[in-house]
Amino acid sequence: MRDISLHILDIAQNSIAAQATIIEIQVHEDRCNDILTVVISDDGKGMDGQMAKEILDPFCTTRTTRKVGLGLPLLKASAERSDGYIHIDSKLGEGTTVEATFKISHIDRPPLGRLDETMVSLIVCNPEIEYIYRHITNKGEFVLDTRDIKRQIEGISITQPEVLKFIGEYIEDGIEKIGGGVIS
């Protein structure tokens, strides 16, 4: 994966596959402590203890087309390469939380990438899922909740091109306003 926004898009696919109805994505750029934390949590079907233990193994996957799954192992490698870690918390029937950290100043830390594009892609492909996107920096916080958007556009679909365009720009703008989006 070229950047963290693509990891997020990828890990959120697990939530979608787990029949989540709400997916919460949080990006926290803590420059004072030099730590970037990404948390993806869902209310999907969760995993039992055994699966949660094995999930970081590339040969553990739920897909039926082949026997390897690389999403979480790739994120783990990416985090550990930049002095971070990955932590997975899951309860069967309740949901899963994946947390990954990166040392911001580490030379191997991937750039954040286009979080607006990741969110628009997630929304257009699965408009029935509610997304909460939260971006925190030392300057402030930006939150996007698709339930708020849907309330605002009642009667039309969130997948309308104009709505999507707005969402993309709104996120880009919101992140910029709080000085977010660690570049390289």
Binding site: M1, R2, L6, L9, D10, Q13, A17, R63, T64, T65, R66, G69, L70, G71, L74, E117, T118, V120, S121, V124, C125, N126, P161, L164
Partner: protein, 125 residues
């Protein structure tokens, strides 16, 4: 003789059909968004389809996603479903190829053969 194995197939088919929208009147563009697809560049392809469909006001076209399509080395892959016609699978997609697929195939009904999985197979031989 019936075996319990068939149940597995029925189960998988049912799971797959969850991805297929019931609204069959429209053309559906399905982008493979497994880890393989995303790593190979599925997101810019998906967004290029959205932009092109929007530019041409193609209200009856739905852009959506599926997981890993199964031939990871040919990602990004895109499947185009047109009512009454066979599914067309495009491989090694790029944002640059998208406008031709939309104009030739989705608008004018002419499949872009050189981008399809069939054309790729022949090159391989």
């Amino acid at each position: 003789m019936k075996s319990l194995k068939e149940l597995e197939e029925i189960r998988e088919k049912t799971l797959e059909s969850v991805n297929i929208r019931t609204d069959r009147k429209s053309t559906r563009v399905v982008v493979g968004m497994g880890t393989c697809g995303i790593a190979a560049g599925a997101r810019p392809v998906l967004l290029a389809f959205l932009e092109e469909v929007n530019k041409r006001n193609l209200d009856d076209v739905t852009v959506t996603q599926t997981g890993c399509i199964g031939v990871c080395r040919l990602e990004p892959m895109v499947e185009v479903y047109t009512p009454g016609e066979e599914k067309v699978t495009y491989v090694n997609m790029t944002p640059e190829k998208v406008s031709k697929v939309v104009s030739d195939h989705i608008v004018n009904g002419q499949i872009v053969r050189e981008y399809t999985i069939g054309a790729y197979d022949e090159q391989d031989k």
